[in-house]
């Protein structure tokens, strides 16, 4: 039998120390991603009013043969290279009091430098076309910072396989972000 590999490890203690509160995928022994993409679909509905691959701030790297899927969202890096790369930072890209990097879409010029500066592959910042399809805009997870219920992806995940790193006791290996710090 081959070694059992069920899902990407969401974070190591060292990694967790470098990020702010962010979306994590739980260990499959706690809950296994069903591949329903509800997180991505509800993200689009919540932020844009519609669904579609370019309209979501969270994406699922589908294991189309293994059926083991990996949830990808902005990890809210403490050193925020995306923010640093933004030529309109402070206006198009901002950092709130909790350290969440977020985008003010109306000021985004769609240069894509933030997406390119992201240290992850694929980039956790997506580029979408705006409504008249003439301009690109950057979109990234802001943890639904203005939503009282918290992130929509977490609220509507039917398998409860994702959560916030600060609240989680079930990230892979049972690592708590607090312990990591």
């Amino acid at each position: 039998m081959a070694e059992k590999v069920y899902a990407k490890e969401p974070a190591t203690p060292e990694e967790l120390a470098n990020y702010g509160n962010h979306i994590v995928q739980y260990s499959p022994d706690y809950s296994f991603c069903t591949g329903c993409e509800s997180c991505s679909i509800l993200c689009g509905l919540t932020h844009e009013g519609f669904t579609g691959p370019g309209n979501s701030r969270i994406r699922i790297d589908l294991g189309t043969r293994s059926m083991v899927h990996t949830v990808l969202a902005c990890q809210q890096c403490n050193d925020h290279p995306c923010y640093d790369a933004c030529p309109k930072k402070g206006q198009a890209m901002k950092i709130d009091e909790k350290g969440i990097v977020y985008i003010e879409e109306e000021f985004c010029i769609g240069c894509g430098l933030c997406a390119r500066a992201c240290k992850f592959q694929p980039s956790r910042i997506a580029m979408k076309k705006n409504k008249d399809r003439k301009q690109w805009k950057a979109v990234k997870c802001d943890l639904c910072r203005n939503r009282p219920e918290g992130p929509a992806c977490i609220q509507y995940c039917p398998a409860r396989c994702i959560g916030l790193s600060e609240d989680s006791t079930f990230v892979s290996g049972g690592v708590r972000p607090a312990q990591a710090e």
Partner: protein, 722 residues
């Protein structure tokens, strides 16, 4: 272009009713000419809803009588639904139709499927596509937003299902989603499927062979557009209320038992529960980790559904509680929650708890011993070659098992070079290999499907020979006769029909299942599972042939099947017997059109009538033809040793015909039935063709003699011999 904003949808001049939820166009792809064009969806909706209802309308309009499954004129019509991609649970499924080569005789048939394909197609801007014509050389269709290309598939031709999926993904990237056929479809094996990357399949009907006949290996799609539901808050509410999702973690389970209750055996395996398509709030499919592969050295993960269970072990059939078909409100649980092992605790305060929880003990067959590895290989062969598991797991294997014990295969190897032995992995593997590649006499024969192969070998002997190893647990182990071939009508295997696989059910349930099958062209019980509220159970048990509420329930099941395949939901989520407006609410949330449950049921009647008209016009369907299809099944003893009564069965058929306003003698709908649901044009054409009956002065009542059934003659012969 696909839609990129809500204004793109609402400003479309064709969208006069300002409907959300649709893309607005249906692609027409002609493989003979290479031409690609688009139909306007809005000319059909909301009247034809989407999905299967829309499919029926287009098929009626475009595919004439006389068209065969492998003819150039056969069309594969595929539709997603208005809920697809909206986040409404189960909307990620889709439907298709064609003349089905596995149906005996060849007829119009239909199917539905999960996977990520339907949603991606909607992001590309299409509510569906019509594939017509035939290519001379292998091709695949690549859809990327507006761009639809018909490309050479020489390098894909010959590949298995997952090889093809992987090759397309490697070539175009992870964002492309594909439906493909395997070698079975290429070789025009009549039971060939079309398969998504997560092993969802159009398996019934043999659509894979339709693609193979068109030299179409795959359709791959990527979309960058959007889908907008009209009422996002309602979508969110539906997500939290449809079948009451418990929203609880779903860990990988480390299990040590497999098999049906009472027939479990020891095996170590890990199981995850997965959804079949985007947006679902349930997880009914089983992901079995690290199973042996039929082709690769390394173990692979397998997605399996209920039918797969039988192939691991077949000592007994499947046990079923009465409440599975006759639930009470207090203890109703959607099947997806049962399959996903996510069911709520029983409500013991239910006064009918004990009655609806009573389990019908399944018949004992002793056909093959538990063997997880053998079963996994058989299932993997079906997945990878792209063939219908029902045909292999339920029909071929039981036939081999029963036939061997009755000595039918003495001195035969059925082209395998080995003794016929269903428990021998190498035998079954060689048999399936031969079938898929049409090797030798028997490979070529069984590539035509069980129904045709058995008729060619000699129907009386190879179908109706009595198997003497069936024992009823409901009759304290009494032996009951059953023929070696579990055929249930229209050339498809039995299913919840009172005998054979999933056969131990009460008479009202199997009468309903047989009636639903009779009126269809396929194993209807994978798309129209019978169920009725428990409060009508006693009435149905008292006189199952004449129960008004049983007839009402059958019509509800049929109509709801049309609805869920049109609005787009799934067999397990829909219907909820105690939420009759659910699908109308789903439709309204998706489109903004204030659909009522009554209007949706009228659309379902329209859809069903269009299919009825297609069957009559294209295939000469009538009462005699359909009754003969299911009668043989009902002549086999059920788990209590009972068979159907010819006179009373005909009276039951009368009741459903009358409820539908169909002529009793012919089974053809009257003009009023068509006109009542806005199908005057269909009635006019049927009249021109001579298929519009006149109401007789007196109620027709001439059932004649029941069709001859060889199995019954064998029973009489054995009884005479003592």
């Amino acid at each position: 272009m696909p839609n990129f904003s809500i204004s793109d949808i609402l400003d479309n001049p064709s969208n006069k009713q300002k409907l959300y939820g649709y893309c607005g166009r249906i692609a027409r792809i002609n493989l003979t000419t290479g031409e690609v064009s688009c139909l306007d969806t809005y000319q059909y909706v909301p009247k034809y809803v989407g999905g299967r209802t829309l499919i029926h309308r287009i098929f009626w309009d475009e595919v004439p009588a006389g068209t065969g499954a492998f003819d150039e004129g056969n069309k594969f019509i595929y539709m997603n639904g208005p809920t697809t991609g909206t986040g409404i649970p189960a909307g990620g499924r889709s439907a298709a139709c064609a003349i089905g080569p596995s149906v005996l005789p060849e007829q119009f048939t239909f199917g539905n499927i999960g996977g990520w394909f339907a949603t991606e197609l909607k992001y590309a801007g299409y509510d569906g596509f019509i594939i017509e014509g035939k290519s001379d050389t292998p091709v695949y269709i690549k859809i990327e937003d507006d761009k639809i290309d018909i490309l050479p598939a020489d390098d894909l031709w010959g590949m298995r299902v997952h090889q093809t999926q992987a090759a397309l993904e490697e070539k175009y990237g992870h964002d492309f989603k594909s439906m493909v056929i395997g070698p079975a479809g290429e070789n025009l094996v009549r039971i060939a499927s079309i398969t998504t990357s997560n092993d969802c399949a159009f398996a019934k009907g043999g659509f894979g062979a339709v693609w193979g006949s068109k030299k179409l290996k795959a359709v791959t799609v990527r979309g960058t557009g959007m889908v907008a539901p009209a009422d996002i808050e309602k979508v969110k509410t539906l997500r939290m209320t449809m079948n009451n999702p418990s929203m609880r973690p779903s860990p990988i389970l480390h299990l040590d038992k497999l098999g049906v209750p009472g027939g479990e055996f020891d095996v170590q395996y890990d199981r995850g529960n997965v959804a079949c398509s985007p947006g679902c709030n349930q997880r009914c499919n089983a992901l079995l980790f690290n199973g042996v592969s039929a082709f690769e050295d390394q173990p692979v993960n397998h997605i399996e559904k209920c039918v797969s269970a039988s192939t691991f072990s077949y000592k007994t059939d499947i046990p079923a509680p009465v409440g599975m078909f006759w639930p009470t409100k207090q203890n109703y649980c959607a099947p997806c929650k049962l399959l996903g092992r996510d069911f709520p605790a029983p409500d013991f305060t239910d006064p009918d708890f004990e009655a609806q929880g009573k389990v019908i003990l399944p018949d004992v067959y002793d056909l093959w011993k538990p063997d997880y590895e053998r079963g996994t290989i058989v299932n993997d062969l079906c997945n990878e070659y792209g063939i219908d598991k029902w045909e292999i797991d339920v029909w071929l294997q039981t036939w081999l098992g029963m036939g061997k014990k009755e000595g039918l295969f003495d001195g035969m190897d059925l082209g395998t070079g080995r003794e016929v032995d269903v428990e021998d992995t190498q035998f079954i593997r060689t048999f399936i290999d031969n079938l898929v590649y049409r090797k030798g006499y028997y490979g070529n024969l069984f590539a035509e499907g069980m129904a045709r192969a058995i008729r060619e070998m000699g129907y009386d002997k190879y179908s109706d020979t009595i198997y003497h190893g069936r024992h009823s647990q409901m009759l304290n182990g009494q032996r009951l006769d059953i023929p070696v071939s579990l055929e249930g009508g229209w050339g498809q295997s039995v299913h919840w029909q009172g005998r054979g696989y999933e056969g131990s059910v009460e008479k009202p349930t199997w009468l309903a299942a047989c009636l639903i099958r009779m009126l269809s062209t396929r194993d209807a019980n994978t798309v129209e599972h019978f169920h009725s509220e428990f409060e009508y159970h006693a009435e149905a048990m008292a006189d199952p042939y004449h129960s008004p509420n049983l007839i009402r329930a059958i019509i509800n099941v049929q109509n709801n099947a049309e609805i869920k395949d049109s609005v787009m939901s799934c067999e397990w989520q829909s219907p909820d017997p105690w939420w009759p407006t659910m699908e109308a609410e789903m439709y309204a949330a998706a489109t903004g059109y204030p659909m009522t449950a009554e209007e949706l049921h009228e659309a379902a009647c329209r859809s069903k009538l269009l299919m009825r008209a297609i069957l009559i016009r294209n295939h000469g369907r009538n009462r005699k033809m359909e009754i003969e299809q299911v009668w043989r099944t009902m002549c086999i003893p059920d788990s209590w040793g009972e068979v159907a009564d010819w006179q009373q069965w005909n009276e039951m058929v009368d009741l459903i015909y009358e409820a539908r306003d169909w002529d009793l003698e012919t089974g053809w709908p009257y003009r009023e039935a068509y006109e009542k649901v806005g199908l005057k044009d269909v009635a006019d054409e049927m009249e021109k063709l001579g298929y519009l009956p006149k109401r007789p002065a007196q109620r027709w009542h001439d059932y004649g003699e029941p069709p001859f059934v060889k199995f019954q003659e064998y029973q009489k012969q054995e009884a005479a011999q003592g």
